[in-house]
């Protein structure tokens, strides 16, 4: 993710009042999460595993915090148990921003078999868990997508995932 996308996301998060960001650092979003960590506006937390990161976001969100989890497709797969509980069992509203690893355009050098796995699993996984999502691949769409996803999370009472790809990420 380049600096322009990162700064744009930070500005929109502030406009939306999302002041808590949780992550397990991963390469495509590292510049974003580092910039957030350096910004005193945010409560920034690093977790040891995606499952407890999602559980953490669920607790913070139900306590009234506006919180976002930043991860990738592998992280969503690791966090499936917690995500399913947050989405289907309880309906807890918070944003998840996920790098859409394996999408066409990912030249990161990860073995193709892994990229293919991520590409094939990402959307079916979220659909199976009944987690609403949308794909954001243009910087010009970021503002509306984050605003709409934040609204939808509270309207649906559910986590909502933004899958970042295209010029937003690569």
């Amino acid at each position: 993710m380049d600096q322009e996308s990162g700064q744009l996301i930070i500005e929109i998060l502030k406009e939306e009042g999302i002041d808590m960001v949780v992550t397990l650092p991963e390469e495509p979003t590292f510049s974003l999460t580092e910039a957030i960590r350096d910004d005193p506006y945010f409560t920034s937390l690093t977790v040891a595993a995606e499952g407890n990161g999602i559980a953490l976001c669920a607790g913070a969100a139900l306590g009234g915090r506006k919180v976002m989890f930043v991860t990738g497709i592998a992280g969503l797969m690791v966090g499936t148990w917690a995500l399913g509980q947050a989405a289907m069992a309880y309906g807890i509203p918070f944003l998840i921003m996920a790098s859409y690893r394996g999408d066409i355009g990912d030249h990161s050098g990860i073995p193709g078999s892994q990229l293919m796995l991520f590409k094939q699993v990402a959307k079916p996984l979220l659909s199976t868990l009944r987690v609403p999502f949308c794909v954001v691949d243009k910087k010009s769409d970021l503002q509306r997508a984050i605003r709409d996803a934040n609204f939808a999370a509270h309207d649906y009472s559910s986590p909502v995932v933004l899958l970042l790809t295209g010029e937003v990420l690569w």
Binding site: E16, T46, A49, A58, G59, L62, W81, A82
Partner: protein, 199 residues
């Protein structure tokens, strides 16, 4: 030591504004019997209590937040200890009721070599203890409710001595969550009053 006796003590040490999170099964059944009103999130599924409690502690930074977990549930995601140590919420207390068993399905690893307190210490949590008697529980946990944490206590309890049945509508259903959210929004420290927008 008996879990019910411990929780009967704990419930008298915390006020109505203290958020409490319970793992499913015995912790939920007992806590729902002892504390039916206030900020109670009952019945979290396996491996979620510590992470959820850490998150909740950031929504109520000026209140003690208590997480009641059990050995079987805790071990599903013991990496949450590292997250807890990293986040270092000074208002969080985790109590793992360790009966060294999966109820009727046999012993857990804590009945053999696994030491949950040492795991917490290894993760970087400084305030830890393993409590084996009710007297120890009272001596250590009661003051900790008022002290700076985070705290992580392993409470060794007997297996299967308390069989309470909780009202599933109040403890495991969407209605439980709605009651919790309602209590959050009425709480004097409700974060949403400070932040823009609605819950």
């Amino acid at each position: 030591m008996n879990r019910l006796e411990c929780l009967k003590e704990l419930v008298t040490w915390i006020d109505a504004n203290v958020p409490v999170v319970t793992s499913l099964s015995s912790n939920t059944a007992i806590w729902a019997t002892l504390r039916q009103e206030g900020l109670n999130f009952y019945g979290l599924n396996m491996g979620l209590t510590v992470g959820f409690s850490v998150g909740l502690s950031f929504a109520f930074p000026n209140r003690k937040v208590v997480g009641l977990d059990s050995d079987g549930s805790f071990m599903v995601d013991s990496s949450a200890l590292i997250t807890m140590a990293e986040a270092n919420p000074s208002n969080l207390m985790i109590l793992v009721f360790d009966n060294e068993s999966y109820q009727l399905m046999g012993p857990t690893a804590t009945s053999r070599a696994t030491d949950l307190e040492k795991m917490a210490q290894g993760a970087g949590i400084k305030n830890t203890a393993t409590l084996r008697t009710l007297e120890e529980f009272i001596r250590v946990v009661k003051p900790a409710v008022k002290e700076t944490g985070p705290h992580f206590f392993v409470v060794k309890v007997e297996t299967g001595t308390v069989r309470l049945k909780s009202d599933a509508r109040l403890t495991y259903s969407p209605f439980m969550k709605e009651r919790f959210v309602d209590a959050v929004m009425k709480h004097p420290d409700y974060w949403g009053k400070k932040a823009s927008g609605s819950f």
